[in-house]
Symmetry: C3
């Protein structure tokens, strides 16, 4: 377990997507290129006919599960859904027994969402060579398809990620969305990445390498081309004193604050939104918002990822 | 929200099916004609291939959900199921965020069942022009596909709805089934509609326009061609003193009572039945019962409705 | 209800699979032959296109439900899943109302798992001639597709069931897996069947006809060609004093004990395993283990059973 998981094969093709860390720029760009085609021409195909996709979701998530399920069904895959918390099981072999059982049923792709770190990596190592693993969210660490869809949305809107100044705002420390967006955008050569958060939500020093840090929202979004808001994690609010009114006052995206960004700045949010907390409805539904486009891009990106994994499985 | 939702387009094609109120007779007849074909020749087709149907069921309903799911799958649609109570969410925009998210994933038809009035109408207005909404049951108000399947069953059995005398018996006040059956049959020119209930279950004056009211079951079903029983809503029984034995004594459909109706009267029930309460097994399983035919017609009607919605979406 | 259910038609074709009892050897062999083809060439086909399979699972079972679901989807069937405990309903007619409702929706095959004995038989009689029933597990009595997959696994590994000495070890008394494995292997002419259990887990006298009984594991597996372990039923452990450490000491399959069997003995387990209780990981993951092969064979056997049922329904 000391070596990093090999997410690509000798020919550079995607074999798993557990994290964006270490994936080359060319691979990310080819996934975005293909996703852009799916986004523009959303037609049913049979690219995955004969393949089986298993959704193993330990955390409830209507939207992400639906997005993966539709990405698979629209390419003709057979899909089975399980609400199963791999991490809450007796550790180690029992988890793997569940995985090996599904593998023996010829599951080709495991889509896994889990609140515990390391589950996707462990499963990917276990099924390596026989099936592929895609993370649909790992603890606070990683959400690679979200990172890709965010990058696609920025590229579509701004044309060139290399010129975009992107501000990620909110509960950065506990956000897998922020980590994967940062990783995708950094790999793709984003001009400037900023993380904007109250001190209590700022990640540890050294994380988010290369990003500029701002504890003032006004400073953080000044001149930004992209304002990417994060959601307050209400389910974790019990662990700390999150005063929602104060949060909105200091870090909520209002129309007035958005005016500090570039005139053609776009607004993003991974959803689900807490309207009136991290973002005002006027902004969420306004002309600069690409929040629904992100959702559409999510299906397209997942179609591209599943297609790529299928291709690497078919041509050994 | 002041204007009624436009359920048809300029060419008269169905765009949503939230209520039967206001739909023209010709449209209902064309849906029944098409459903009759599906009922007679239940073969798998690809009419909905490439379309996505989302079932959003806030109230548990094995049978109705299965009926819609099969109606979609048998026409080649992709189907995603959600157990989601839209009405229990924070009101307004949050509900719509869920809907807009699914819309952005290119859901074409939203099938919605909810205990709260108005949810389907609100969603239909929100997605209008981009997707269609079908009600699968709205509070105590409306269950339009049930009304259509009831009308189809009457038409199949009696040939001409215009000559049928129909008695609807039971907990009328709280029954969406009764409301939609009344609306469908009235639109289709039913000869005579009767509502039969104990006073406590009789709807407010003015409701069920044109229907004759009977507080005696014997009087109510005398000479009727169709006896449509409703189920006692056990889940609401706590709100009032429903004495089941007394109910059966006064309003249960026994063989003796059925003999008061026309000799070739048919018996209907939307299910699930409370045998021994509103209906005796001898009647439910007897030769005059079309209860299972109603279920079969339910799938056929839903196939016809989905097909019509798909047609209006494809030819703008 | 006094006559046994006719599981085959006049031409000997399978109409239901509620139990292996009474099914002729030639039928079992033809199912295994066909399953072997599916196991060797797992390609998607359309053999069940236009048919509807309903999974009614009253007991939670990720693996068995997934196995049946994939067996149906991979042959092009439409599949609907229900978590529904038929036996916990008001008895008799209410259960059947649910079944008749699904039948009226043109469900072709009911796959039923239930903790109560007799449910599958009752449903099969109710839908007889209109649909087929497959048991996916009935109380402690029967699990016919498990029996078939176990037999297929033995045949694949040993070539000839007629020469195999098979020891079934564990909680025999409460095991439907043991009963169906015994029945399948006995019908197929297994050379020698042994049941091995502590006295408290030994079935009543007369059960497991023809099997030799051993209360010592060492004696029971000596020279065996197949060692089929059962799982300790933790969910039933509360009913009796199962000392897991003592159980492992006396009946756990360790590498040392396995050495008492034939040198090329195979190890089987229906899953999920309690590692360290009835079986050691060294054995479960060792070269003699065919546990994952059993899972793969499970999908293949269920494909063969569904195909056979579809054939008998199509050619009346």
């Amino acid at each position: 377990m000391n070596f990093p998981l090999a997410q690509t094969d000798a020919a550079g093709r995607l074999r798993h997507l557990v994290t964006l860390d270490g994936l080359p720029r060319a691979l990310l760009e080819s996934l975005l290129d293909r996703a852009a085609v799916f986004a523009a021409q959303p037609v049913k195909n049979d690219a995955l006919r004969g393949l089986t996709v298993a959704n193993l979701f330990g955390e409830p998530s209507t939207r992400t599960r639906a997005s993966f399920e539709l990405a698979a069904l629209r390419q003709g895959a057979d899909v089975v859904n399980f609400e199963i918390t791999l991490s809450s099981r007796a550790k180690g072999e029992t988890l793997l027994d569940t995985v090996y059982t599904l593998l023996a049923m010829r599951v080709d792709v495991f889509v896994i969402r889990d609140a515990e770190a390391g589950v996707q990596d462990m499963v990917a190592r276990a099924v390596d060579g026989e099936a592929a693993v895609v993370s649909a969210g790992e603890a606070h660490l990683s959400h690679p398809t979200q990172g890709l869809l965010d990058a696609l949305t920025v590229r579509q809107a701004k044309g060139d990620i290399g010129r975009a100044r992107v501000a990620i705002v909110g509960d950065i420390a506990r956000s897998r969305v922020a980590r994967s967006a940062h990783r995708a955008l950094a790999t793709l050569g984003c001009a400037e990445l900023r993380i904007v958060a109250p001190r209590a939500m700022m990640p540890a020093a050294g994380a988010f390498e290369g990003a500029r840090r701002f504890e003032s929202m006004e400073d953080g979004i000044a001149g930004a081309d992209v304002v990417m808001m994060l959601r307050i994690q209400h389910e974790r609010a019990g662990s700390g004193p999150v005063d929602l009114a104060a949060y909105h006052r200091d870090f909520g995206l209002t129309a007035a604050r958005l005016a500090l960004a570039a005139p053609d700045a776009i607004v993003m949010h991974p959803g689900p939104m807490n309207r009136g907390v991290e973002i005002d409805s006027e902004v969420a539904d306004g002309p600069q918002s690409l929040i629904r486009r992100q959702v559409a891009n999510g299906v397209a990106v997942r179609m591209a990822v599943l297609e790529a994994l299928a291709a690497s499985r078919r041509k050994p």
